[in-house]
Amino acid sequence: MTRRRGFSLIEVLIACFLLAVVLLSLLWMNRHSHLSSMDAYYEGIAMSVAREPLEIFRGMGYAWLDLYRQGKADLSGSPVLQACPHGSWYNIADAEEGLYPSEACDLKRLITVAPADADGMKGFQITVDVAPAQQTRVDTWLSRDVVTLKSFVSEKK
């Protein structure tokens, strides 16, 4: 009778342990990578949402910004401008349908404009804060609470 060779329990346990360590490491790495990817993805979207008013306001210029800051600018003519109220959080989901990609609709935006005159130049500082809207998946993935983008617009006179 030929005696079959086999694994001892110790061998099996060690093998299982090693396998578990390797697989758990891979799982952890996978989850971390997934988190990073989604964070980067949503941060990119948040940056775009934050950049938009900066570009618009730079185009509108200093004089318009002065009116905007005082709440006197007419925002009704453009759905994009309607999505840029001053000094209050605005849910991107409330914007006109199709204006923003669906992922951006899980974000909210706060725009503040403050005088920033210096060195003989009149200017405004524009600060755009973008954060996940309440109870959305972005809240899960985005690592930062708020993505902030700032810029200055000066008077061309």
Partner: protein, 694 residues
Amino acid sequence: MTPSPERPFPCPAPGLMAGRRQGIVSAMVVLVIVVLAILMVQFHQVARQSQSTTLGLEQREIAHQMVEVAMEEAFTRLLRESLDAKSAGAAWMIRKDSQAYALPTPFASKKIQELARSNQDPVLEADATIIQSDFRAVDSRGNKYYGSEGVGSIRLSVRLWILSSARSNGRPPYAELIRCHDYKVVSVRTKRDNGVERNAYAQNFPLDYALLVRKGFEEFNASPFGKNLDNDAKRLVIAQTGAADTQGKVLIGGTGSDKPVFLNVHEKFAPTDGSGLVPKPSKETMQVTFDDCLVLFPKLKEEIKKAVDQALGDLTANTPEGADPPSRETVESQIMEKLRAALYGIFTFRHLPMVRDSYSGTDLEEEKRVIDLVASKESGAKANTQRGIEIIGDSLAAFSSSPPDQILEGDIRSRFLKRVDFRMEGKEGGEIDAATIEKLKKDTATYCTEAAEGDDGTALVNGLRELSQKYSTDLFSRFIASYPYKTGLAGDPAPGFKTFSFRNVSGAAVPLETSGDTGVQPFFHVNLRGKRMETSDELAAVGIIDADKGTINLNGYADVQDSVTIGQAGQTLKVKGQGGIFSAKGSITINANIVKESDEDFCVFFTRKGNIVVNADEVQASLVAMGSGGGRIGFNKPVKVKGAVVAEYLSLDSWAAGTHTFTYDPVLKSRSQDLYVVNLGQSITFQRLVDGIQ
């Protein structure tokens, strides 16, 4: 392994087979784990990479904002300099310097620190460069612009280093933003020596003139005749001060080559010593013989005949009987001898003003009568005896600071009255008694005009003609318009002033009257306009007219396609800057008073196809209505203008009654210095952002 009868095929032994299987499974498990591990690591790397990319994009976005802020400041600072023609930046653009012009950005340099991360110390550098190959010094038809005028492009460059050490180490910038803007250099004043003709086309040539009326001669000879220059109800005074070479010229177009216009001289320009516009006559009296008097007054012959008859009668009565009475011829001859010895005629010549404030008193009433009689023999503009406009100033004193030879162009003459009177005189102590002489003097005193009335008048006129021929002297009262509009003249001066040619847009010398494409066209280069608008309302929208601040803000020329209305009645607008407001196709109505904020500021209102209507009391601006339209300027109130006034027709007769005063603005004239302004366009014509270089 060799085949055996028990095992026809070579195969491992059973125990050995089991061991092999276990090895394969283990290897497969290890392989799967390795593959999984590799995939996981790859995924992790991709995830890290995307996170890093997002971070990089964020950094680039921040850098983008930084260079945008810096670019705005750099542009604004260059724009500000462009608005001040004396600034270094404007001078750099005007001379088209090939060197880069450094632009400070203190505002942006501070503010970008607030945008940077804590471990960054960003620094900026900004400059402007003129794209030399882009500069156009000719218009679309190839006509050359004046001097430094032209249209070009400026490239603004802003460079950003996230770390100052990178810049000091000579590394390339992290981001560079390049923008191009168009700019225009336009002359608002071009140098002019009053005594020399322009040798190139300068679109603002009308500003050389205190008054230029292109069709002045044509207007002078059209109904109402001469009333564009001689008008009692509407007075025009051109007042100038300062050095002669900073004064505006006066030109009535179409004059010259025996096509004169005249200004009837007012008494204030005619002192009796001949130092004014009315010269003293070359001779004040001329004596003629008794026989000449008979030519003028044939009726005297009848008186003489009566006297001869009476004398003959007396002699016949007193002649002793038998003696022969003297013959009639003898008596007549004797009487004539006595009369010739005792009597003679005197012509007096006086040069007098054409216009006086009042004609009261016998002599002045007669003077007026003479003027009316002489005028009755004239027609057209020559019959105009109204007061001339005052083109040098309102008094003779103005002539010393405003020499007519340096100011007037064309054939402009002063016109006065040459009054000729005649009377007979007698030698006292002769055989004619004083009472008779006095009676003769009274009876024969007459003013000599060609306006004959009745038989006596016709005989007088014929006699005067005969004597004029005999003595080669014009013995009639006349209006004299052969003297140029100068003071202190005598003799027979050459009439008129120097006439200059003008330049058309291609630079050819042409007479002022030439119209059309090859003619004289002011402000022709539309490409050099700083702004172009459709309607007058847009002047406020672009900030040229600021009703709230009461200013007209100028930097170069602004073109409105439609008619232009400036201000409201009762409003005063201050001119800031140098330039003008043009109406391309309409008219210009000025309701508000226009004043200059400083001596350096000036404004030109120009219409090519319409008229200018002024409803204000004061306009410290130049008015130019010249081109292809009516080209008239109307003043609905007595007005004070400070600037140049240029029109196709003066149409003085349609102005409001009263005195209108034009004062030339000395800032419009320089013998040696052009004055340019720069219009830097706000629109971006090209942009490139290069980032992430560092």
